[in-house]
């Protein structure tokens, strides 16, 4: 039996080995592997995001444009639904039994049957009221209160933008700030100032038991954060001026950009045809979006920022300035018209008959094409340049300083830089050193391989009005109710032409309105300076263009108007600009020219747009 007696040591060994193995396993689970702590947190904690109210948006005069509206989503936790009177429930929601089953299935697929999912988005306040009364009958269902945007206006949709569900891409870019299904600014100012408008989300952490019930604050609420309201914003737009602009451009394709030259504030930014911002709220937003997307008139396209037009007359203004700066042009420089400017076997014709020869003011007044061919060649063919490329590059940099071919940096998404090619483009096109100023002569009158957006046009006018500088055109006027002006919107940006050279050009533009092509733009008691343009359009009727500012001294408004397929500048663009300037300068007084206003509003050019005919 001695063998058996000593066997008890084996028992000690077995107990020891097993005890140690279990202890090692526990050490691994509890001390080495840290993932379980995280898993436990994920399982038992529910983050309840508290959305702060989004900042409100006002116009420059303090008119409320965008605010928040309470909406009610009907939520469901499928697992908790018990003894439901489906008939009564469906009646209340006005859905069929099949739809009920479908929605239930969808909810389970989306978030599983233990978690809450949206059963019906944005139920009507009336349905909400009935639900409040009967909710205790519908276990598993509850109402979640959210806010959505609400608009006090039917205009300026492109500027205000809208909110909607955040995209996958932005969720990724947000470093975990956004979660699926949250609403963010999708475009316009809602997007550019998303960080200001959205405020800071708060989080309440709740302990959730295995049945999905909230038991109490997690960790005593130590991880909770309080939401901070979004910042209210004031936009530079004059809501009434904007509304007038939209009305004048109705049934036409075109743009208006009005800028306060001294501040760079955008007073009006009209893209026609536009849409009503209210299309993008509520339950129909998805359908409305598809409808607008498919519209051949492209109402979602923000023309003032994106549509490039031949600059035409805008370039003549800039050439007049560059020529003087380069010393190749003086106010007294005379060139003959001769009805056209011959380059090889090609002739740049003058658009109309006028007296000749002309000085600079006269050339602006008469918009004489051959005069500007001379001006352009004088700039380009200076002896100091070793090559045409070098001369072109000099001219190109002048142009860029006026904002042509560059993004101005407006605080709205999707600004196009227009079309202006560097010399390398022509080197490639014609071969290095084998092109002359005559090859690009059409640029002198703003035709050919060049395009400028209405925003850039208005900005050039603002530079002229300011006699040499501009402030980055912008939509944001003030941040918050303490009305802070962002620093970047107070800095002057100078064009490459000195102040002394502007006066002649301004005088020429005054003559255009007083005696020339834009007489229709005259405003009683106010000296308007302007320039009409007729941008050639290979696809249909010419575009009607007008740029101008008023008053001549201490200008308050600079404006660019483009009406597509409107023909001469004086026919549509100049009167529309004039009416808007008058309205703004008179501080919203009724027009002195009701007939003109009526004619503009009623004008319908939609059937002239080539791709809609």
């Amino acid at each position: 039996m001695t063998l058996s007696e000593n066997r008890h040591f084996l028992y000690y060994a077995i107990f020891g080995v097993v005890g140690l193995s279990i202890a090692i396993r526990l050490f691994y689970l509890q001390v080495i592997d840290k993932s379980y702590e995280e898993l436990a947190r994920d399982i038992s904690r529910r983050e309840i995001v508290q959305f702060p109210p989004r900042g409100l948006i006002y116009d420059r005069n303090g008119v409320l444009l965008v605010y928040n509206d309470v909406i009610y989503d009907l939520m469901v936790v499928p697992r908790q639904v018990k003894d439901l009177d489906t008939t009564a429930f469906c009646d209340l929601l006005k859905i069929t039994r099949e739809q009920f089953v479908e929605k239930m299935k969808k909810a389970i697929i989306m978030n599983g049957d233990r978690r809450s999912s949206v059963f019906e988005k944005q139920i009507s306040p009336k349905a909400y009221a009935s639900f409040q009364e009967k909710l205790f009958n519908f276990t598993g269902f509850f109402i979640e209160v959210r806010t959505d945007r609400k608009y006090n206006t039917h205009s300026m949709a492109h500027v205000l933008g809208n909110t909607g569900e955040v995209s996958e891409k932005r969720i990724e870019q947000s470093n975990g700030y956004y979660r699926q299904g949250e609403f963010v600014g999708l475009n316009g100012i809602e997007r550019s100032y998303e960080e200001l408008l959205r405020g800071t989300k708060g989080v309440r952490n709740m302990m959730v038991d295995v049945w999905g019930r909230e038991i109490g604050p997690y960790g005593g609420g130590a991880l909770d954060t309080v939401p901070a309201s979004g910042t209210n914003l004031y936009v530079t737009l004059d809501a009434e001026l904007q509304a007038l602009g939209e009305k004048l451009l109705q049934n036409k394709v075109g743009s208006v950009v009005a800028i306060e030259p001294s501040t760079g504030d955008i007073l009006a930014l009209v893209s026609s045809p536009g849409y009503d911002p209210n299309e993008f709220i509520g339950r129909e937003r998805g359908n409305n979006y598809m409808k607008l997307l498919r519209d051949p008139m492209k109402p979602l396209f923000n023309r003032p920022l994106n549509a490039p037009y031949p600059p035409g007359s805008v370039f003549k203004i800039i050439e007049s300035l560059i020529g003087q700066q380069e010393g190749t042009l003086t106010p007294e420089t005379m060139y003959g018209c001769g009805g056209g400017y011959r380059v090889g076997n090609h002739t740049v014709k003058c658009s109309h008959r006028h007296y000749s020869p002309l000085d600079l003011r006269g050339a602006i007044e008469q918009s004489c094409n051959p005069y500007y061919c001379h001006v352009f060649r004088a700039i380009m063919d200076q002896k100091k340049f070793k090559s045409t490329a070098e001369a072109y590059d000099n001219w190109y940099k002048h142009m860029q300083s006026f904002g042509v071919g560059t993004q101005l940096g407006i605080d709205l998404y999707g600004e196009s830089k227009g079309i202006l090619y560097p010399y390398t483009y022509f080197d490639k096109l014609y071969g290095k050193n084998s092109w002359r100023s005559t090859n690009v002569i059409s640029l002198s009158i703003g035709q050919g391989e060049v395009g400028i957006t209405p925003l850039q046009m208005a900005n050039v006018v603002a530079i002229v009005a300011n006699r040499g500088y501009f402030i980055t055109p912008h939509i944001l006027k003030y941040i918050g109710d303490e009305k802070k002006i962002p620093d970047e919107f107070t800095k002057r940006r100078y064009a490459s032409v000195d102040t002394q050279y502007y006066e002649t050009v301004v005088e020429g533009m005054a003559r255009v309105v007083n005696n020339g092509t834009a007489r229709i733009a005259q405003i009683k008691d106010i000296q308007v300076c302007g320039k009409t343009g007729t941008a050639q359009n290979p696809h249909g009727d010419d575009h009607s263009v007008f740029i101008g500012f008023a008053p001549m001294y201490n200008p308050k408004i600079a404006i660019a108007v483009v009406v597509e397929n409107g023909g001469f500048g004086a026919r549509w663009a100049a009167p529309i600009a004039s009416l808007m300037m008058e309205y703004y300068l008179s501080k919203h007084a009724p027009t002195t020219r009701p007939d003109l206003q009526k004619r503009m509003e009623e004008g319908n050019l939609i059937n002239k747009v080539p791709n809609v005919q």
Binding site: H8, G16, I22, L26, F27, L29, Q30, L39, S44, W211
Partner: protein, 430 residues
Amino acid sequence: MSNNEERIIRSGTFDWLTIFIYLIMVGWGFLAIYSADFDTNSPGIFSLSHSYGRQIIWIGASLVIALIILLLDHRIYPAFGYIIYGIIILSLVSVFFLVTKRVGGGLSWFEIGSFKFQPSEFAKFATALALAKYLSGYGISFKDTKTQLICFGIIILPMGLVLLQNDTGSALVFTAFFLALFREGLSGIWLFSALYAGILFLASILVEDINIILLILTAISALIFLLVRKNRSAILILVAVWALSCGFSYSVDYLYNNVLKDHQRQRIEVMLGRVDDIKGVGYNVYHSKVAIGSGGIYGKGFLQGTQTRLRYVPEQNTDFIFCTIGEEYGFVGSFGLVILFVSLLVRIVQLAERQRSRFNRVYAYGVASIIFLHFTINLSMTVGLFPVVGIPLPFFSYGGSSLLSFTIMLFILIRLDANRTNEVKRAFEI
């Protein structure tokens, strides 16, 4: 009661260390149950609608019974060993006819009023008593094959009945008696064979193609053959072992794939880590591991466990009670619990070894082995080292049958131990 015995009781020869460990375990167990079933709405401990309220009653009953056992004559256990065993066997059989309600897929409960009674829990100490009684009989030698077979019979009868009740876990616990019998002279080959069979079992399940196992077995046998080729009898044994191994391995494979029920197979698969089924069969183990693992080194504190407080662990006041301890007391507490159990087991073996009577010793080893198997299987199950079989953690898990039967089992041992010298004396008297 003779004067001698009264003296022994009064002079405190009860093994207070064991009683002390018992009280710590039951007390700690109550705290764990309280945590696991804690309800902020009724924090009082005397609530019959909560498991901790009922457990108080069971603890009270256990203490009363423990006291009674200590006061009763120690001689009734050898005397009534067979009768107790007989009664338990009868009640195990009657479960098939009288059971009113199935609990957890098994049919092993009697329901008396609102209290449920589980005979299989009591079958363990009854079997220990019967085994001790038989082996302490006059002229019984464990060397006799007949003796061994009768011992096996005593074990296998209740084990089989429990297995028939679909209570795999409890049936598994009865194998503990084979471990106990090792002390009485059961050949080490059995233990070695069990270990070998276990490894072969796992290998047969883990390796997809059973032929690979058969090939390896053959290769190893061939190697051994080269070593022992001059010994005829060794070759015979080798061939037998090889044939048995291959047969076993093949049978396991066949049983596993064709006979085992789906839920049993799935539990094994989860334990082996071959399927990671958090929502289905792996649910218990997953949440159990999360609860224990999230306890960290020092734990979250009493009533601060999130996973258990929020009821993520199923059966968390019974079979998975260890989760509460792992989560609230961390590694320090868990390790303490392991130490506590190992101490108790070592102490019982020490008690066993100081007995002069064979009855006492066999019984003590039976108790140690039963507690050891419960402890090992239960903890291994909660930490994901063993498939989920429903057996409680002794003294900790909620449940009257479990607590009462373990209390009775342990206190009979303490009572027997108190009279160990007396027993010898009486042996001389006879």
